[in-house]
């Protein structure tokens, strides 16, 4: 394995032997594709013509006033095709799978956004698509289940463990182990074994590249703080990657605090986890003293995961990114706040980043320009929010 698969002591390839040749093949295919202009041009063309990129940068002045910050800008991944940033990665990997001659795609999904994105990309490229989804997530995100089916995907419910994203990943990996010769595993975040964390970041880095240029053009300077929600961490890595070299720009990741870190019912793997190995990588993991992976809780299905990408664990350790958590209740407030002030209904995942804005003001003062990665739109969450606000 190349040394690029490690972020300090995090990362790696903790996989069954059966899959080791496959991740090697994937690494070579990805390296080859990213150097091939025909591949990158096709990816860029579809990002423009099918995904609708570049996504706009929106000046959220009423929101800024409400939270007491000089300026808040929103990177509008909610306006990308299928309603979230997940499509950038799903399209990139589906193109790669096709190039590798693999026509059977398996994917996992939590909120359903990655599942929908994978199903859409597979429909576009004529690939077979099977999406694993925990029964608990099927229940709370059922509009997305219907969307996946409309897009021609087969949705397989996973009724094991906590019946959420973690268990869907287990089942997708089992499928991959069994059908590795014909099947491409289209993983939806910067988690899993190398090369996924690097590859998914690469496909998502378009967010950061666009946002940086747009902010400089609009405001005439870089933002002071960039904030994103962190589940597995792909929208965050996507936007952070544009600013990581700008040492003056503060980066901030917001995890799902659930009912509060003290309650133990949360999904904040960095704020509340310890080093461990989950789904093929060493990272920070929510686990018991005996090394069992803990059940997580978040109002947002897309953040409800006991691990986090290994590069985030590393960025936390080096201090380049500061990670905090916001609770369910705070996220619901953020959800309503953005809807009311800007006419934008966010997904519950980035509502955690919106909820962090008052804390950014407390930490950095009112004279701060904040760029938020608005990773997705909230249609899928209306049932959940209606129930919670009733």
């Amino acid at each position: 394995m190349s040394t690029t698969g490690r972020y300090g002591r995090f990362g790696g390839q903790y996989l069954p032997e059966t899959l080791m040749p496959a991740v090697g093949e994937l690494e070579r295919a990805f390296d080859d594709a990213r150097r091939d202009e025909a591949f990158t041009q096709e990816f860029d063309r579809l990002l423009r013509e099918w995904v609708g990129r570049p996504t706009p940068l929106t000046d959220a002045s009423r929101l800024a006033r409400e939270v007491g910050l000089r300026r808040v800008t929103l990177k509008r991944e909610d306006l990308a095709h299928t309603g979230a940033h997940k499509i950038n990665n799903a399209l990139g990997q589906a193109l790669l799978a096709k190039r590798m001659g693999k026509h059977r795609i398996v994917a996992e999904t939590g909120a359903g956004q990655h599942g929908v994105a994978a199903a859409a990309a597979c429909a576009l490229l004529g690939l077979e698509c099977i999406v694993y989804m925990g029964t608990e997530d099927v229940r709370r995100q059922h509009p997305n289940v219907f969307r996946m089916k409309l897009l021609g995907a087969e949705v397989r419910e996973v009724d094991a463990g906590s019946r959420t994203l973690k268990d869907a990943i287990n089942e997708a990996i089992r499928d991959w182990v069994t059908n590795v010769r014909t099947t491409y595993y289209l993983l939806g975040s910067v988690v899993g074994p190398h090369p996924y964390p690097a590859m998914v970041r690469d496909f998502q880095s378009v967010i950061g590249r666009e946002a940086r240029a747009q902010h400089v053009e609009r405001v005439g300077k870089l933002p002071d703080v960039v904030v994103a929600c962190v589940g597995g961490g792909s929208n965050a890595m996507g936007i952070f990657s544009g600013f990581i070299a700008d040492r003056d720009v503060k980066l901030r990741g917001v995890e799902a605090g659930g009912l509060g870190i003290e309650s133990g019912k949360h999904a904040a793997s960095i704020v509340g986890g310890r080093e461990g190995v989950l789904h093929g990588a060493r990272s920070l993991v929510l686990q018991t003293d005996d090394g069992q992976i803990r059940e997580t809780h978040s109002v947002s299905a897309g953040l409800d995961y006991p691990g986090v990408g290994p590069e985030h664990a590393y960025l936390h350790e080096t201090g380049r990114v500061r990670y905090v958590s916001r609770t369910d209740v705070e996220a619901l407030e953020g959800f309503q706040l953005l809807s009311r002030t800007e006419g934008i209904i966010p997904a519950l995942e980035p509502a955690h980043a919106i909820a962090d804005l008052p804390h950014i003001r407390d930490d950095h003062g009112a004279d701060t320009d904040v760029l938020v990665c608005l990773s997705g739109r909230g249609d899928k969450d209306l049932d959940t929010v209606m129930e919670r606000l009733a």
Binding site: Y14, P16, E17, T18, L19, V177, R181, R274, D290
Partner: protein, 272 residues
């Protein structure tokens, strides 16, 4: 008893040597500790040995067993609900070594071992007389730390190889194999199958080109017919899900006898 002066690795080697001397395949039995209940494990392990088991693999339950099919998944879930810990697994192993001088390994996923700390794991296993571990989500590339902790105590980490493993990888990794070599009979997860994987003979032949260690075949092996088909191919068979199925199917008072008889049928099927 002189057994405590013999280390676990020697017990493994002895187990394969004994089977070879008796012109039969060694039988490796996998059991999830704490399945179906905590008190069941000790008598079941003894019944497996009474049936002729040569090597015991104690399954350490894990919340996310991604290389396992539904049988081991469910056994793991049950065991965790029963509160089974890594300490319990080591204790069961220690008892078995002390009472029966058995060749015992732990089979489990990386994270519980990692959380314990590899140094502490090594000293715990050594003290228990357990030979070492099989870790289905720890390929050779990720094993350096564990190997460093294990080497001074003579503990072994048995590698798994699969039909998808290319020759160049076998050539690179097999020289550092210890104890025995575990060949995965099929491309997939654990779980009893109706027939043997089509690639198993080829895989064992490819492995033997690079090692003289005994070769055991596991994953999917479910019946005496499967075992008989591996005579002259492998040196041993590893049976897990089928064992759990036999236990799960038997009425509670008959479990131990059912297991003993099943193991005996596997041992007999392996005689040339």
């Amino acid at each position: 008893m002189a057994t405590l002066t013999v280390d676990g690795k020697v017990r493994l080697e002895r187990a394969f040597a004994k089977a070879r001397a008796e012109r039969r395949l060694a039988v490796v039995v996998y059991l999830t500790v704490g399945y179906p209940d905590r008190d069941a494990t000790a008598p079941l392990l003894r019944a497996a040995l009474d049936g002729g088991t040569d090597i015991v693999e104690l399954g350490v339950p894990f919340s996310d067993p991604l290389a396992d099919g539904s049988t081991v998944q469910r056994a793991s879930e049950t065991a965790l609900r029963n509160g089974v810990t890594l300490d319990d697994c080591i204790r069961e192993g220690a008892d078995l070594v002390r009472e029966r001088d058995a060749a015992v390994q732990l089979m489990g996923y990386t994270n519980p071992f990692y959380r314990r700390g590899y140094e502490r794991l090594a000293s715990d296993l050594r003290a228990a007389g357990i030979a070492g571990v099989i870790v289905p989500d720890m390929p050779a590339e990720e094993s350096a730390e564990l190997d460093r902790s294990f080497a001074p105590s003579g503990l072994v980490r048995v590698d798994l190889y699969a039909p998808t493993t290319p020759d160049e990888r076998l050539a690179r990794l097999l020289p550092s194999a210890r104890g025995f070599v575990y060949c995965v009979s099929l491309t997939g997860v654990t779980g009893a199958r109706d027939r043997l994987g089509p690639d198993v003979g080829d895989l064992v032949a490819r492995v033997r080109r690079h090692t003289t260690l005994p070769v055991a075949v596991g994953f999917g092996i479910a019946t005496p017919t499967h075992v008989a088909a591996l005579r002259g191919v492998a040196d041993g068979v590893a049976v897990g899900s089928a064992v759990l199925d036999v236990i799960g199917r038997a009425a509670v008072p008959d479990r131990a006898t059912a297991l003993r008889d099943f193991v005996r049928s596997l041992v007999e099927a392996g005689r040339s």
